[in-house]
Amino acid sequence: MRLIIPLAITFTAGMIMILNFFVPHQPFRFLGENLQEWYLIVASGAIFLGAMNLMHVHFRKIKLKLKNWKYSPVTIIGFLVMLVLGLIYGVTEGRPFNYLFMNMVAPMGATMFSLLAFFVASAAFRAFRASNWRATLLLTSAFLVMLGQVPIGAMIWDKIPLIKVWLMSIPNTAGQRAVMIGAAMGVVSTSLRMIFGVERSWLGGTD
């Protein structure tokens, strides 16, 4: 039963959603909409699970004094301060939660992401080599796209932005589409395997 019940639920839910897509009429429409709402409820519940897990991981880290445990109190205090302020005062504009978000969380997040520029520059210097004709082609394309993406490219030669658009629209699109079609076919086949119970690794077992 431990195997049959989850497989039966997966098959029923999967078939309802497929039928709802191809036959958007009753009773499939009603069933499909209900399943969608169940999904939203379960996904909302996962947020609480995530918050609890975050606390569990960091309290454990402090208790056992694991590597970098000194950062964990910052995470816990930050989480609790935002949680309490949000619950007491709400999250709308002008409230303490929003003030902290706009003046602490937002600039810190932006700073962290901006650091990538330094690592990209360093990595490009060390790894981007014209070692064969394919790498040279990639390097040339990268130069043209980098220059076309900023106004200085047009100042150097006014055709550079047009070449960038061509590179992105034609060769890039061809490659991207091949990858996307391949991935989409993989998703369809894996989904069908799960719905029909061929793929069972998600149940936690090996068979």
């Binding site: 969608q36 999904y39 939203l40 978000f101 932006a110 520059a121 080599r129 900023v150 932005p161 890039n172």
Partner: protein, 279 residues
């Protein structure tokens, strides 16, 4: 000469970091602004589409990003919202990312204040809901079922501008400002392909290459890619000295410095290879 090239090839990465920092700091300090001509780019397509929207249309703007990608996407959000308000289009905001709701609120309220637009009459923010693609499918049959209240807990029925809005098909255009998943791809697949609503997009520069495929198939009406896309939109809307346009000078210099480093790295590589030292 060969020694100098060899030394350059082994440049300490801290020197690279300092030079990149200077490449950004110096143009910002001198408030350097470069002219930003807008050619036949996807950003112009989005501008033209928005510009052709009739007055009183409803547009859904989904703020699907967080502070990490804010430097690229927030200027886009502000320029787009300003353009929509200037066209007297009603804006319904929402977010597939939790922090996007606050960032969207900031963009909409600041632009609304500058143009005298009223919340709940001209714009509103429904806030964040989890669920990604599945949530978008549900919006296709009933938006109020997913968002019974807005971000400030005002009930759907008490918001005048939402009276004529029932499902996704009530919108003339959906714009997703997207930093990843869930984001623009979910909107294209679910709202665009399934319910036939035109989709526009603003995205980070790194995700733009993937999304060009949707432009070619007309699954998207236009796209703002990275800070350049935001600068293009600011230029087209007529924002003087906008955040993104001001960001073009440091980005230009930083790109030139990176290109210079790649050239130095390759010169050192070929010099070493000539000596038989490089693989």
């Amino acid at each position: 000469m060969a020694d100098i090239i060899e030394k350059l090839g082994k440049l300490d990465r801290r020197i690279i970091f300092v030079l990149i920092a200077l490449a950004v700091i110096i143009p910002i300090s001198f408030d350097l602004i470069l002219p930003n001509p807008v050619g036949a780019e996807p950003s112009r397509d989005l501008y033209d589409y928005v510009d052709a929207l009739p007055e009183g249309s409803n547009v859904l703007v989904s703020f699907d990003y967080d502070p990490s990608t804010m430097p690229e996407l927030q200027p886009m959000a502000e320029a787009l919202v300003l353009h929509l308000f200037m066209k007297n289009v009603n804006i319904v905001g929402m977010a597939l990312w939790p922090q996007g709701a606050s960032l969207g609120q900031d963009a909409m309220s600041s632009m609304a204040d500058s143009l005298g637009k009223a919340q709940y009459e001209d714009w509103c923010n429904l806030g964040y809901k989890t669920g990604g693609q599945i949530m978008i499918v549900r919006l296709g049959s009933s938006i109020s079922a997913v968002f019974p209240t807005d971000m400030d807990n005002v009930p759907w029925s008490e918001i005048p501008m939402l009276r004529n809005i029932t499902a996704l098909e009530s919108f003339s255009l959906i714009i997703s400002l997207s930093a990843g998943d869930p984001g623009i791809i979910a909107w294209v697949m679910m709202a665009g392909d399934r319910f036939g609503v035109p989709i526009g997009c603003g995205c980070t520069a790194v995700s733009a290459p993937t999304l060009y495929t949707y432009l070619q198939t007309n699954q998207m009406v236009g796209m703002l890619g990275g800070l350049k896309g935001a600068a293009d939109y600011e230029t087209l809307v007529g924002i003087k000295g906008g955040q993104a346009v001001r960001g073009m000078a440091p980005q230009s210099v930083a790109h030139l410095v990176i290109i210079l480093f790649i050239i130095i790295g390759n010169v050192a590589y070929f010099s070493q290879r000539k000596k038989g030292g490089a693989r």
